[in-house]
């Protein structure tokens, strides 16, 4: 208990489960479905126990077809429902890409506001769990570039709960990407009751004066480790957890870079045409005269994510972040 608020230790998995639980209880129009979501409770157990609690009409297994999972959500939303669908892994969203870009993102515009698409498409993404091919990629750009949808990535159990509740309550469709590498790696006290975190707001996790470090998802923790290294060298870093890939919280970023004059961006997705490019452009456009060094992108290679034995080459280490911090400081 903290100021009258019941707290509970949660992992990201249990926090997401809890957010779904709260919304399923509160709003009869919310349903959750996808491959193995019902009886099994999801391959990562994110929806565990929810079918038992809410029934198989509200939390259920679908046949194996991603385009149908997303496409049927469009139909449900048109009739007033708020579907939360799960894609089993980041690499299996693509069959649904046409439904996402052609309908989920466009129905509201096409119908001039008549039909809203309060759909949440959740899926685990990112590397670091020694998985098979297609299970480790990060491709936030191919969603964030689509006009008409929002893209959210939490980095802690607390944020996962608060952001997912906002996502489900959003009248716009939300792609909700879950950094599976930290699904169970971080335990945190999270309020048991409902709360929400606004979509579109980054969070300054740590104040600093010398350099702005921007990260999200599983990279936040790596960034924090790099900051410890940098601190030993007397470098004072401001850490921003982006949280919302689109809309981007320009203001928080710009204010920070105006103060520090330097920026390093960290992301798992491939470097070229990635989110780092958009952030660099924003900084270039809005804080140009304050920049003392080029914005530095620390990102995945422009290669296919290697299978587990090669993944250590690909994965961004705290050392690599630190190395780039030094490089940017010395520019």
């Amino acid at each position: 208990m903290e100021g009258g608020i019941e707290m509970k230790v949660m992992t990201m998995v249990s926090a997401i489960n809890n957010a779904l639980d709260i919304k399923l209880a509160e709003d009869p129009m919310v349903v959750a479905y996808g491959e193995d979501v019902g009886v099994e409770g999801g391959v990562f157990r994110v929806t565990e126990g929810l079918q038992k609690k809410y029934g198989a009409h509200r939390v259920f297994d679908s046949p194996l077809a991603e385009s149908a999972i997303v496409g049927t959500a469009v139909g449900m939303a048109a009739n007033g429902m708020r579907p939360v669908v799960e894609m089993q892994f980041c690499g299996f969203v693509y069959p649904a890409y046409n439904q996402i870009i052609s309908h989920v993102a466009r129905f509201h515009n096409r119908s001039r506001g008549r039909y809203r698409m309060p759909i949440v498409i959740r899926f685990p993404y990112g590397g670091g769990i020694n998985a098979l091919e297609h299970h480790s990629e990060s491709m936030e750009t191919i969603y964030a570039h689509i006009p008409g949808i929002k893209v959210v990535i939490p980095s802690t159990p607390y944020d996962a709960k608060g952001l997912l509740i906002s996502a489900i309550e959003s009248d716009d469709p939300v792609i909700f990407m879950e950094p599976k590498r930290i699904y169970r790696a971080i335990k945190q006290e999270v309020p048991e009751d409902k709360f929400s975190i606004p979509i579109g707001k980054a969070k300054v996790l740590q104040q600093g004066n010398d350099l702005t470090l921007i990260a999200w998802g599983a990279m936040v923790r790596e960034a924090q480790k790099a900051i410890v290294m940098a601190k030993k060298e007397g470098i004072s870093i401001e850490l921003i957890d982006l949280r919302s890939i689109y809309p981007i919280d320009k203001q928080t970023i710009i204010e920070s870079v105006k103060k520090t004059g330097r920026a390093v961006i960290v992301h798992e997705e491939p470097l070229s045409f990635g989110t780092g490019a958009e952030l660099t452009s924003i900084i270039n456009e809005e804080a140009f005269l304050h920049l003392e060094a080029p914005v530095n992108r620390v990102a995945g290679f422009d290669t296919i994510v290697p299978l587990p034995r090669g993944e250590h080459h690909y994965i961004i280490s705290p050392e690599k972040i630190y190395y780039n911090i030094l490089k940017t400081m010395k520019f």
């Binding site: 385009s67 149908a68 048109a78 439904q99 052609s102 008549r114 039909y115 008409g148 981007i248």
Partner: protein, 362 residues
């Protein structure tokens, strides 16, 4: 009926022949004379509007338009059976069905003049906007079907796709989902024999489309789509099936796209005049007219006058559409999100600044 007209044997469900004779009276749906005349007139109105749309387009007063000529009985039948709370999930070639649902011609014209406003179908209940990505709308129909069961509503979904659309993965996925969910959806395929230039026999090797129902464990029926009676009966049976909780039905309406694919298309490149002429003999309006005359329900001598009247009405609505308000910049931004992101607002502001500067240049 489903077993009598088994698509496995490629049986065609037909009630009325090309000359307007009722050949299977036992399947003749009960429709009173007045309603039937209305159905004919609706089809005639739709055809008049459709043909005028083609000429407006030729005059450069509208953009690309997909003609309905020859396919009107399908919508005519839908108009008879669809209830207000039934959902229509259209593709893009169902003028009569949109009108039946309560869309106005003016809206349709607006759409093909390039306004999103034209696909809102404001006063039409339970209709989705026109869907261009082939077969993708079938998924929405399956989802609507789920929502109807979930919310304990009494509606049925009418989803439309073309013969070409049956090759898309979404076609199969959607029917499979709806079947597993036992959702009340009527999956209608307008088999007009062509997907742009590609003839049906190059689209699939299956003997017909109705037989594809076997892949999903649901009934399929191949119906003469130019026979309004057969279509009405088929829809009635399908609707009863769907409403009784037995799940979806697949209906193949065999018809012929007498016109071009769209106003940008030239069918002489890929089919013969002989074929077109032969198929003209199956024209759905002609058949219904013959029947009505044979039953003394309709006096064809008034038809010219009627068409003239319709032309006026079409022209009136077209003018209204032509005089529609210009498309404000605001509308480009307003609907992409329910909640306009700051970023987007700023893009609009920046653009307005540019426009002012440009204005000042002159």
């Amino acid at each position: 009926m489903f077993s009598e007209f088994s698509p496995l044997e490629d049986k065609l469900f037909q009630v009325m022949d090309n000359d307007g004779n009722i050949v299977r009276p036992e399947y003749m749906p009960e429709i009173d004379g007045e309603r039937l005349v209305k159905a004919y007139k609706d089809m005639l109105f739709a055809r008049t509007a459709d043909m005028m749309a083609v000429s407006y387009q030729r005059q450069g007063r509208m953009y690309t338009y997909p003609p309905n000529l020859g396919q009107e009985a399908i919508a005519g039948a839908m108009a008879v059976v669809m209830r207000e709370n039934d959902w229509l999930v259209p593709a893009f070639r169902e003028l009569g069905a949109w009108l039946a649902k309560g869309a106005t011609l003016k809206e349709v014209f607006l759409y093909f003049m390039g306004y999103e406003d034209g696909t809102v179908f404001k006063n039409a209940k339970n209709i989705l906007p026109i869907s261009v990505p082939i077969a993708s709308q079938y998924q929405h129909a399956a989802g609507l079907g789920y929502s109807i069961k979930y919310k304990n509503e009494d509606s049925v979904v009418y989803a439309v796709v073309g013969d070409g659309g049956t090759s898309e993965g979404d076609f199969s996925e959607a029917i499979n989902f709806a079947a597993v969910w036992e959702a009340p959806v009527i999956f209608l395929v307008q088999n007009n024999q062509y997907a742009i230039s590609v003839p049906f026999k190059m689209q699939t090797r299956s003997i017909n489309i109705a037989v594809k129902a076997y892949a999903f464990g649901i009934p399929g029926l191949k119906v003469d789509g130019n026979d309004i009676f057969a279509m009405v009966k088929a829809f009635q049976v399908a609707q009863a099936h769907a409403r009784s909780g037995k799940g979806p039905v697949l209906i193949e309406a065999v018809t012929y796209r007498r016109g071009a694919h769209t106003t940008s298309d030239d069918p002489t490149k890929y089919r013969t005049k002989e074929e077109e002429d032969a198929m003209a003999q199956t024209d759905p309006l002609d058949r219904l007219r013959k029947y009505l005359i044979s039953q003394n329900l309709y006096d064809p001598s008034g038809e010219e006058e009627l068409v003239a009247q319709y032309r006026k009405e079409v022209d009136r609505q077209f003018s209204e559409a032509e005089n529609y308000a210009p498309y404000p910049l605001e509308d480009v931004f307003k609907y992409t999100y329910v909640e306009l992101p700051d970023d987007l607002r700023q893009q609009q502001v920046e653009h307005e600044k540019f426009l002012k500067w440009k204005e000042a240049l002159k």
